[in-house]
């Protein structure tokens, strides 16, 4: 079920009413409702894959229970590996099987050996990368005795399948989300209103910014061979805003929806395009995934408290794995490696933790130096997105050579320039609102709170009208494919 669909607009109030009015007196029943609602939400797309979620839940719950009683370290390790192999096994099969097979065949044919193998027609289960990582965090934390294993199967199932963040995150840690299912939730008016505002802003980001930018990004990337340099550069910029609006919009809706049900999810995006360097960008972009890799991969590998070569190795590993997590394509791996290259100079010169605070805190505008750093970081990020969006490495390279050609200074040419101008104005307005709201959890969190009711409502109405008037052609959420 899509957040920006009529189905969800009907589904959400029904679940809300049942949650707060019918099942509110019994915590177990309330958690069971969350599980049922989550399975309906997911099954709306394809009910067959519910068995995968259920099996993952069952395995991790059982492993957790066994880990609780098992004293032998050797057996505990075996249990951990069972969970890892089952979860990553599903992920590898559905997401990476054809990729490995194709590359295997290519590698053999490179050395003159032709092998016959048929790739499978596999459907990628929506959100598999997200819930796999979420359940893995549970088993690893239980194994490391950082978390008490759950002995409430329904609460645990609700944690794994919690519908607001099931298919595209934020990837919650068991330590943070699971205990919320054990406690009785009480309705908090201000939290719910805050959630509604965040949902509204998320919808604006997705429908107005991302969907409109997608129209031009798709057109330019799909016909890149016929476009001049300036158009290609513009296409990269459109995609840069599309992916941010799309993914952070989804996260906003997920966090806002959770707040309606009394849950707190972690912040997933913290105004990443206002970052002054790449390390700051990675502290602000897809935070739940970056911190997941930091805690469960980078630190176990030794992190940055090792020698220079190991630091370089670890950085490349984490960025390349992060790229590969996004999809079974070399473009994602190159995208990850490119970010590692951006990041390494900062790490090796101990400048990776220079910008921990949000830029220009308490000030209206950034300094010239800050602005140049922001623009440079933004440019590097937009450049890297070309690999992320391209169909294959050849496409990315020809796209980049097209950008850096003499035609870069020509007037952009593509169909729908007038609506592109409208999209540019909307995106510009959006960037301004984000800038002025950058010290909050989401841009409009505090906007208009001190205004009179009619004025505040007028602002909400304007955002809703903008969603209907300027909403682009409905596009699938990009991160569903991951």
């Amino acid at each position: 079920m899509l957040f920006n669909s009529i189905d969800f607009a009907i589904f959400l109030p029904i679940v809300f009413i049942l949650y707060w009015f019918v099942t509110n007196k019994n915590l177990k029943l309330q958690n069971l409702l969350v599980v049922i609602a989550s399975y309906v939400f997911y099954g709306w797309w394809d009910w067959r894959f519910l068995t995968l979620i259920f099996f993952s839940t069952l395995v991790d719950y059982s492993v957790g229970m066994k880990l609780k009683t098992e004293a032998s370290q050797k057996k505990r390790k075996v249990l951990l590996w069972i969970s890892i192999l089952v979860n990553l096994g599903f992920l590898s099969f559905f997401k990476y099987y054809n990729f490995f097979l194709d590359n295997f065949i290519s590698a053999f044919s490179f050395f003159g050996q032709e092998i016959q193998a048929n790739s499978l027609d596999i459907i990628l289960p929506v959100g598999i990368s997200f819930y796999t990582f979420q359940t893995l965090s549970y088993t690893i934390d239980v194994y490391k005795r950082k978390l008490e294993p759950s002995n409430d199967f329904i609460a645990f199932s609700a944690f794994v399948s919690f519908f607001p963040q099931l298919v595209a995150g934020p990837i919650e840690r068991a330590k943070h989300l699971l205990p919320q299912f054990y406690k009785k939730r009480t309705f908090d008016y201000s939290k719910a209103i805050d959630g509604m505002r965040q949902i509204l802003w998320g919808l604006f980001k997705k429908i107005v910014i991302a969907d409109n930018c997608a129209e031009f990004a798709n057109q330019i990337f799909n016909n890149s061979a016929d476009m001049n340099g300036s158009t290609l550069a513009l296409g990269a910029l459109f995609f840069t805003f599309q992916i941010y609006g799309d993914f952070s919009g989804y996260s906003d809706i997920a966090i806002g929806t959770s707040r309606l049900f009394g849950f707190n999810l972690m912040q997933n995006f913290n105004f990443p395009y206002f970052s002054r360097d790449i390390s700051e960008f990675w502290r602000r972009w897809h935070i739940s995934l970056s911190t997941w890799f930091r805690d469960y991969l980078y630190i176990p590998l030794g992190g940055s408290r090792v020698g220079t070569w190991m630091k370089i190795r670890n950085t490349f590993i984490i960025f390349i794995v992060s790229g590969f997590w996004h999809g079974a394509n070399w473009t994602f791996i190159i995208w990850g490696a490119l970010n590692a290259i951006y990041f390494l100079p900062l790490l090796l010169t101990n400048n990776n933790r220079n910008n921990l605070e949000i830029v220009a805190r308490g000030k209206l505008f950034p300094t010239l130096k800050e602005l140049s750093c922001i623009l440079l970081t933004f440019g590097l990020t937009a450049f890297a997105w070309i690999f992320f969006r391209a169909e294959n490495i050849g496409h990315a390279l020809s796209y980049i050579s097209g950008v850096f050609s003499a035609t870069l200074f020509e007037i952009p040419k593509f169909s729908g320039i007038r609506s592109a101008l409208t999209t540019t104005i909307l995106t510009g307005t959006f960037v301004l609102i984000e800038w002025f709201g950058r010290e909050q959890q989401f841009a409009i969190q505090n906007l208009g709170l001190k205004w009179s009711l009619p004025l505040r409502y007028a602002m909400y109405y304007m955002i809703i009208v903008a969603i209907f008037w300027f909403g682009g052609k409905e596009q699938q959420f990009i991160y569903f494919q991951f």
Binding site: I6, W20, F187, Y189, A192, I193, Y457, Y460, Y461, I464, V465, F468, W469, G471
Partner: protein, 284 residues
Amino acid sequence: MRKFILKSLFFPLGLISSYTLFYFCSNAYLNSSFTNKNAIFIWGDSQAYQGIDLNKLSTTIEKKVYTSANHGAGVYDFLVFTEQVPENSEVIVSISKLVQVRRKKNDFNRSGLSIWALKKLYHNAYTTKEIISILKPNLKPRSNIRKSTELYAYSDSIQILNLSNFESYYQKIPSFFYEKQNIYLTGIQNLINKNCKISFLTFPYHAELVNIENKSPIKEKTDGLLFEIGNLFEKFEIDTIKLNKNKNVFRDLSHLNCRGAKDLSKKLGEKLVTREHTTIYVAE
């Protein structure tokens, strides 16, 4: 919780009522800059948009000419047009054969909000999902009646594009075919009820397309619409407009170029001035 529920109910009510007020005021404003005194209104799809030279027609009939013709105009656009056009107006309607067979989702259907038109679609087998997809882009007020269009430049040769598309359209009668025809008839009946003086215009196809059409089982059905239209009127005529064939008049298989448009507009205008009954003009 009570406060939240109350606000959740009042918020959309406030939104709907204030937006409805705003919508109808701005829509009325946007579509009020014309009068039906000494004027003629045109409705059609891209054939009419590209195929009628408004200036030429206006000079010939010595009347103002307004058009609601649009690329891909569909059934919903037609119903909204029949609703917006003032009573006792003079109207030219061009329901092309292609709009009858074109897939529903390919219809433009963006002429603003009309509950009446949406209801008519619902009663003619449009699903709730299809109606919502039509409703969404129509929430924005828009001006539907224009005073100018753009014509295709003259060229000695024609562009033959997507011949296979036409062939696929003409292969078999689509499931929605009769519903679409029924909606067009409903719109025409609405114009009759508003005492409008109606003329119908059929644009010519290039020989290549006529060939495809002649082999198709659909031709008989699309031609049949003309007779059904005729049945709505007491006195009804079919007249032909012969275009000058000295030079190429087509831009592509189904659209006239500026030369064809000017020729057609002049000859149509001359016939309109002298006509007595409701007439279908078939351009050849």
